[in-house]
Amino acid sequence: MPLTRKIAFIDLSSGKIRKEPIPKQLRQLYLGGRGLDAYLLYNYIKPGCDPLAPENVITVSGGLLCGSVAPAAGRCHSGTKSPLTNGFGSSNMGGFFSPEMTFAGFHHLVFTGKADKPVYLWVHNGEVELRDARHLWGKDCFETQKLIREELGDEEIQVMCVGQAAENLVRFANVRTGLKNTGGRTGVGCVWGSKNLKAIAARGTMGVGNKYPQEALDYAQKWQRQVVDTKVAEALGYDGTMFIWNVTNTVGLLRYRNFIFNQLEDWENLTVEKFHEKYHAGVVGCFGCPIHCRHQWRIKEGPLAGLYGEGPEYNTQMCMGGLLGITDWESVLHGSHLVDKYGFDMAEFANIAAWAFEIYEKGIINEKDTGGLKLQWADAGHLLPQLLEMVAYRKGFGDLLAEGPLRALKRLGKPEAEYYLLHIKGLGNMISDERPTPALALGVATSSRGCDHLRSRPAIDLLHLPEKVLEEVFDGGPMDSNFTSYVGKAKEIWVMERVFSVVDSIGTCKFQTVFFSPHMPKFEEWAKMIYYITGMEFTPQELRDIGERVYTLERMFNYREAKHTRKDDYVPERYFAEPVPGGFPIVKGRRLEREKFDEMLDEYYALHGWDKEGIPTKETLEKLGLSKEPSHII
């Protein structure tokens, strides 16, 4: 029974551990996972603290339905105050860690303080203990997991850990499990490193009961059928997320060489088809998932022969590829292996490295600034492994890149470089070029963790679906089938925020939402599954309200900790200033229009019940039950 899972509070400074039941009231308000983590962070973090100070707090959680019979109920959330943005730090990963933590009896872990030497947490069947991790410090993400399993003597142990990048306080260090599962964005791993927290090991045999077992099983089958019958499930199952690239690169919706062009012209070598031909080694899936969108890869010949891993994703294709102007698979795979090894966000790295290459090309920096490195685009593939290692160990120029956008700009001290570094609220931009897609632009501009697509991207907006279909998915119109239009897009973002907030709080995968297909499960389905498994009754509207509450609390966090207001809800200047240089006629020549963007932003704030500055009004806070935060229910 999910409701019997506990929360553990671990004070790393004193070593004291406290285990508590999770108040049902909090489940009713936030469900669990990311939602409850938002509550915990807002309540436990000392306002205004330095993200790398002991006063920062880390949460690790599985969702309300983690480990249950709901398909793909294996997502894991880790949150903190971000060392990149000073705002809401939040990352989410798949794999098998959080179900194991759930079977060990826990849905939530809260870490406060700082250990005086490296430690790891061992969670097993109701027990929580801190163990010495000095022998693990300096080990990469692959070794750490293996060594812990050997030490504790059980191959079934799941481990969540950080690598050398976190130990060296690379601001975008991440948390990892398995071969490539990554809680990538906002630098959560860096905070782990600052607290000397190396890993969490989990192993459990405490089942997650069902209130209505047969109904839960039957409904899980229905849900699974609904998911598997979509066209996108088939595409994901075969090509993984790389199926998206065939669309976005063809149209011209990607960033090539930072922002110099919007498409790979020499694309033939970097296709998923080429990958299948030469490197594909199998297909795997996360806990309980029928979509199995993950590849396994292996390099069979050449200097990297024998190297293997999981992935690549669409993000890998571009972060280790097109964004840096790299178009050969071996460089890309090698790069992805190294970020998985050292444990840092490849999106953040690629964004800031691409910036460095562009300002080098433009003469804003030279070899004196880079410590002798000649950052020429044509050499990016050749330089990539070296740069990745320099960032992981903060060596030379890598030390500047490791600071992330805001601090790297400050340290460099060249105002003319700022224009070329794409970021929103201090989080680096994604591989996508949102100039022709107002909905997607609004999404990244307002995302509660900085520039990011996973807070609210309505990817189906790109499919030119009939208006009737969009109205059904987005709870009413007016809607516009054209992705270049500004009509109805604020509503799309608002609805998607709720969709993602709820799915991250129940702990199932976003790929089983209306992210990619209008036919996927939504609030109605979630309400049923929650009922059969936990007995808790929510109407679909009540779930939407929970989504709104979670997102608003994240917004409040950002206002309190980073003073984020309307001025921070904009895409980079380049989106307004530079027209799309190439690609298909539908995108070429387009710029984001400032006036229309502002109107969309106003519409978006109104939908949320926020004022013109993007601050939640008193009435909105009362309606959502947030006016007494921090409320310290636990």
């Binding site: 075969y238 065939n246 063809t250 149209v251 296709t271």
Partner: protein, 51 residues
């Protein structure tokens, strides 16, 4: 008999019939050109044709 393959033009969104095993495809409506890929008998767009 394999069913007729159709893809959606990514520029103007009309549905285009894809001849079996076609390596290139031009949209009859807006003129953009594609390079095609095949997974068995299933057609998909691989990328834009070079100008």
């Amino acid at each position: 008999m394999a069913e007729e393959q159709k893809v959606r033009c990514l520029n103007c969104f009309v549905r285009i019939t894809v001849p079996p095993k076609a390596q290139k495809l031009t949209c009859p409506n807006c003129g953009v050109e594609y390079v095609m890929a095949w997974r068995g008998s299933q057609a998909k767009i691989a990328g834009p044709a070079k100008k």
